[in-house]
Symmetry: C2
Subunit: 340 residues, 2 copies
DNA sequence: CTGAAAGCGCTTACAG
DNA sequence: CTGAAAGCGCTTACAG
């Protein structure tokens, strides 16, 4: 029972139990097919040797790594971190390993992912942003891929026909905007995510649709951001310096909303007294910011878990499921309120 | 150049190039030893077939996975997420894969880690908290392990003799406390991290040492937290309701400091006017909280990168390096100021 | 500089 | 219910 000198192999176990390696293998993978007595002898030999099957040998033989790759644009971002946490929870449950690749947005690291997949290191990939694999290539190769939270754009910029789990970003952005309009605000501006991503386009589209539906298309205004707190702060500066002052600001994520509140305060504007602000995501800090942030809640852990489940289904041979939208929620806190 | 029907193997490449598989293998791993002409033929065959070596076969043969495991207590915590980001950056550089295991604090998931290591899925592990492997066992088995940011406790509760990269937590906590005392505060209280972790003990020790050095041992007070914002909020409530009101609060992380500021505000106390507050870590939100948080900065990405470098050295056969302390920094912002 | 051959540690038809 | 044997795709002494 003490630590063995050398790592035990299946042959060691077989020898000790007086059976063939095939029988040891079967005891582990299909115990029902092995006689009870034999199974007991094998179990004891395994316990004695501390045997753990070598995963490289299993992978080579079974042609399955029991591992998935998750590609994320920014691990430092709490949104992604929690998505991964949800992924990890089901991975643990299903006995699959999780390989993480931090792929900076805009970087050309898609090739690294492709290599890992081609090398058989992982059986499939979860893509946490839409610019990781060359859009056209992914569905062509026989990689199993599901996109998470953000879709993969096809050649025309719309969502590619790849399995996907996430909320309906366009609808959610429209709801957030409508919420602000419902509060009596008219000059609602939108601070966007990083340029040229499908996520950003979808949220802009939702914002514009809601403005148009309220007859406010003429005063719709979009200010660029990049999901960082600092970009929200900068956007607030831009808003204060140019154009008519906004009644409300809808930000494409919570970090930018926090930056906007901060930037507005620096310019002497108070939230929500002078300007209402809404974020997106409902990260942990949202509830504790000052004032607490009204936002859109995405069930991050659930999204991550569902996405892995779908990927595992595909790895098991099921055909790719069509994209699924999970429900989101408008959460009202104190950063947005009725127009005075 | 188009996607092949079946994944190409080394044998396909060899056939196409008219050489043996051994030569293909050498062209890839030791090109200098192969004639230029042969190398060119092999290179072309590789390009034509889109060959990528199967990693399971390589791992099995070389007895090396070129992968490391990183065990983290809470992926949703930005502190850990950035540590991993630093790890990933050097992993990418060195061509090693990163397996992440989210191991909830207090969970008994150390066994899962051990299995992954024993199965040869990874060549070593980076432990991001001190309760992941049974302390006594880790150094005994021939696992390559380096602890990151938080040490592994030995049987007596002190740091185990395992390679480690992080700041000197005791000294940093003492510096933070001394900083507050230097500002004129006397009733400085400490809100701790989760009970029974070595990190928590070290920071408490630093706090107590600084209080004692200032002749304030008699009024030292420690309030339990668990690194969550909510626990900081609760701690503030405790402080306000019981005992003498504090002049200053030193929190074991930034999240709790944000919670404390929030909780103090709820009780009608303003930071820093009524109470000074310091955090620990300097997460991204610290600079943008209201007021901006004075804290201790840990170079997270650097710590992660150094830790992986050390682990890789050990995997390459070098003896374990002694623990290394990287420099930290007291960052003064607006949440702490001179006593009125 | 190159090839033939063994072997890394498993799993799985195939027989019995 | 069990074993002998082939084979997954590489790498690496060993010869030449």
């Amino acid at each position: 029972m003490s630590a063995p000198e050398k790592k035990a192999t299946i042959a060691d176990v077989a020898r000790l139990a007086g059976v063939s390696t095939a029988t040891v293998s079967r005891s582990l993978s299909a115990p029902a097919v092995v006689s009870e007595e034999t199974r007991a002898r094998v179990a004891e030999a395994i316990a004695r040797t501390g045997y753990i099957a070598n995963s490289a040998a299993q992978t080579l033989r079974r042609r399955r790594a029991d591992a998935v790759l998750v590609a994320v644009p920014d691990l430092g971002n709490t949104f992604f971190a929690e998505l991964i946490s949800g992924i990890e929870a089901v991975a643990r449950d299903r006995g699959v390993a999780v390989l993480v690749a931090d792929v900076p947005r805009g970087g050309r690291a898609g090739v690294r992912l492709a290599q890992q997949l081609d090398a058989g290191r992982a059986d499939g990939a979860l893509l946490l942003h839409g610019a990781l694999l060359p859009g056209a290539e992914a569905p062509g190769r026989d990689w199993k891929v599901v996109t998470v939270a953000e879709e993969l754009p096809d050649d025309s910029g719309g969502p590619a026909p790849v399995s996907h789990v996430g909320i309906d970003n366009r609808a959610a952005a429209a709801d957030a905007t409508a919420h602000l309009i419902g509060l009596g605000h008219r000059r609602v501006v939108h601070v966007t995510g990083p340029r040229d991503t499908i996520l950003t386009r979808q949220r802009i589209a939702g914002y514009e649709a809601a403005m148009a539906a309220a007859g406010l298309a003429g005063i719709a205004r979009v200010v660029p951001g990049d999901f960082t707190i600092a970009s929200g702060h900068r956007a607030a500066g831009t808003l204060v310096r140019t154009g008519a002052p906004p009644d409300a600001v809808f930000c494409a994520n919570d970090e930018m909303a926090i930056g906007v509140i901060n930037g507005l305060a620096a310019a002497g504007l108070s939230v929500p007294d002078d300007v209402s602000v809404m974020g997106f995501d409902d990260i942990a800090f949202a509830a504790w910011s000052n004032p607490p942030l009204s936002t859109i809640r995405q069930p991050r852990r659930e999204i991550g878990g569902l996405a892995l489940s779908e990927l595992l289904r595909q790895i098991d041979g099921a055909p790719p499921a069509p994209p699924v939208h999970v429900p989101y929620e408008v959460v009202e806190r104190q950063s947005a309120r009725n127009r005075r």
